[in-house]
């Protein structure tokens, strides 16, 4: 089964770029990515630019509107994801627990729909 691990945190929490903690934090992500790749679980993964760069689009009655900012003004924002191929939820959860952001943010685990033929 494929699981999308969505990484949520407040952008102001946790190690910030340019600080002393940053290199070790990024090393943690590198190690995790290597591990899921070596374990044969990795389908894809990406990190997102900060929400300051987000735009939100709607189409209503044929009218397109594009506005500045993320869809929801919540305390925690989507910062990146891993798409993993795991045996079950327990395995997906055990990988989610290794994601560095899990210690101060949260990881949402969503199964991917398999469309019937």
């Amino acid at each position: 089964m494929q699981y999308l691990l969505l990484i949520y945190s407040n952008e102001n929490d946790g190690p910030q770029p340019g600080t002393d903690e940053w290199p070790a934090f990024m090393k943690g992500y590198q190690d995790f990515t290597n591990k899921v790749r070596e374990d044969g679980k990795l389908v894809s993964a990406d990190a997102l630019q900060p929400i300051a760069t987000a735009s939100t689009l709607t189409v209503r009655d044929g009218k397109t509107e594009l506005v500045d900012g993320p869809f929801a003004e919540t305390k925690e924002q989507l910062g990146g994801y891993y798409l993993l191929d795991c045996a079950d939820l327990d395995e997906a959860a055990s990988y989610a627990a290794m994601i560095p952001t899990a210690t101060y943010g949260r990881i949402e685990i969503r199964p991917i729909i398999v469309w019937d033929e």
Binding site: M1, D88, L89, P111, E117
Partner: protein, 419 residues
């Protein structure tokens, strides 16, 4: 409702539902990988059994039901629109059937998958109410209506809750397995909590006038007995079973002839179920020396001391205080501290107990907890501080959600008010 006793075939089926439902359903779920399909097919098989068993009841009824349910599963999967997508499942079930037919002719052995099943039903990825309902439905064999009635829920709401939970298990890939070693303590904690919640729901009804729903308590005890057999190496399971046995043994003393709530202090100890207390105490005495002492074992030991005492006054309060002190270090909570204070008020002095309770009261964490105010009111009245006692009794009465308990508290409140 019929006044006639059930006919033999119906009685056989009823007995199986009672005794074997969990085992059959767990076994079917394991082979289908789908709890809802397993349940639907087992229901189908029971309807067919009603008819076929009129002539002759099979030697191993459970095995007959499993074989029939598997055939029904193949039928259902074949009828499914996504026949091609399901062909893998059909092939697997067919293979299972053939293997068993080769080995045992008409009596396949029923593998015991109940342990895997209970860990699935109590998975932390499910909402707590769903965990309780699923456990009662799948392992206890209670009907949706029975579960709804026990939790004062609408049957429709309960049915939806169950369907949602079974769907999440399937779609989110919650596995049918006993968790690996590193996850086991946390997962086992969730299983034991579900069993204890079922017990407490039966033991002290939260709302309404019925103080006990005994069948739920019995169901929890039955589940714990199954767990002790399946995981004999875990002392906390025996601890929980012992705690529930001893607590449940006092059930007839909790209500007096006119239906009023009677707290432990004033219970007629002659009404306690001696045999059940003996079983519970015996179990905890054998369990404690095995090491890895946890909260359920400590609570069982505390209940055991109460159960062995001739009266409230003659209770070994210093030992109870000592056990609460350990319990508070293993599993710190303001409620445990409150109980420690009560034990201290008898083992040491009312002043010592009151000092502890006042300290807890200042934090405000138990401001909505009825037993805290009932306990403090009681200590104030023992210290002769009746005005303060009256205030606390009032708060306890306002917080109580149980009619019988409220009546009891009002009687005590009138006493301190000198009425």
């Amino acid at each position: 409702m019929s006044v006639m006793p059930p006919r033999p075939v119906e009685r056989v089926i009823q007995d199986i539902v009672r005794e074997e439902w969990g085992r059959i359903l767990a076994s079917l779920t394991k082979s289908f990988g789908d709890m809802q399909l397993a349940e639907d097919c087992l229901q189908d098989a029971m309807i067919i059994a009603m008819e076929h068993w009129q002539k002759v009841i099979p030697d191993v009824p459970a095995a007959w039901l499993i074989t029939t349910a598997r055939r029904k599963a193949i039928d259902r999967l074949r009828r499914d629109q996504n026949f091609v997508a399901k062909s893998k499942e059909i092939a697997y079930i067919t293979q299972l059937e053939q293997e068993e037919a080769m080995q045992h002719k008409d009596a396949p052995t029923i593998s015991d998958e109940r342990l895997q099943m209970i860990f699935t039903c109590c998975h932390p990825a499910l909402d707590e109410k769903a965990r309780i309902a699923l456990t009662l439905r799948t392992l206890g064999g209670l009907t949706t209506d029975e579960i709804a009635a026990a939790f004062l829920d609408k049957p429709k709401t309960m049915a939806q809750r169950l369907v949602r939970a079974k769907n999440k298990i399937k779609v989110a890939g919650i596995p049918y397995q006993v968790p690996e070693r590193d996850m086991l303590p946390e997962r086992l904690g969730s299983v034991l909590k579900v069993i204890y919640l079922i017990f407490n729901e039966g033991y002290s009804a939260r709302a309404g006038a019925s103080l006990m729903r005994i069948s739920l308590s019995n169901e929890a005890i039955r589940l714990a007995r199954i767990m002790t057999k399946l995981m004999p190496e875990i002392p906390e399971i025996s601890g929980l079973l012992s705690l529930m046995l001893i607590t449940d043994a006092r059930r007839y003393a909790r209500v007096d002839a006119s239906g009023n709530y009677v707290p432990l202090e004033h219970q007629d100890r002659g009404k306690w179920d001696k045999l059940q207390i003996e079983e519970g105490i015996d179990l905890i005495k054998k369990t404690l020396p095995r090491g890895a002492v946890g909260p359920y074992q400590l609570q069982a030991a505390i209940s055991g001391i109460h159960a062995e005492s001739k009266s409230w006054v003659e209770t070994d309060w210093s030992q109870i205080a000592a056990l609460y002190r350990i319990l508070n270090s293993v599993q710190p909570s303001p409620i445990v501290e409150m109980n420690f204070a009560v034990a201290l008020s008898y083992a040491d002095s009312v002043t010592a107990g009151l000092a502890k309770l006042d300290a807890i009261g200042k934090t405000g964490v138990l401001d909505n907890y009825q037993p805290f105010f009932a306990a403090r009111a009681d200590m104030y009245s023992r210290a002769g501080m009746n005005a303060r006692a009256a205030l606390d009794f009032d708060r306890a009465i306002n917080l109580s959600q149980n009619d019988l308990e409220r009546v009891f508290l009002m009687t005590k409140a009138r006493k301190v008010a000198g009425q």
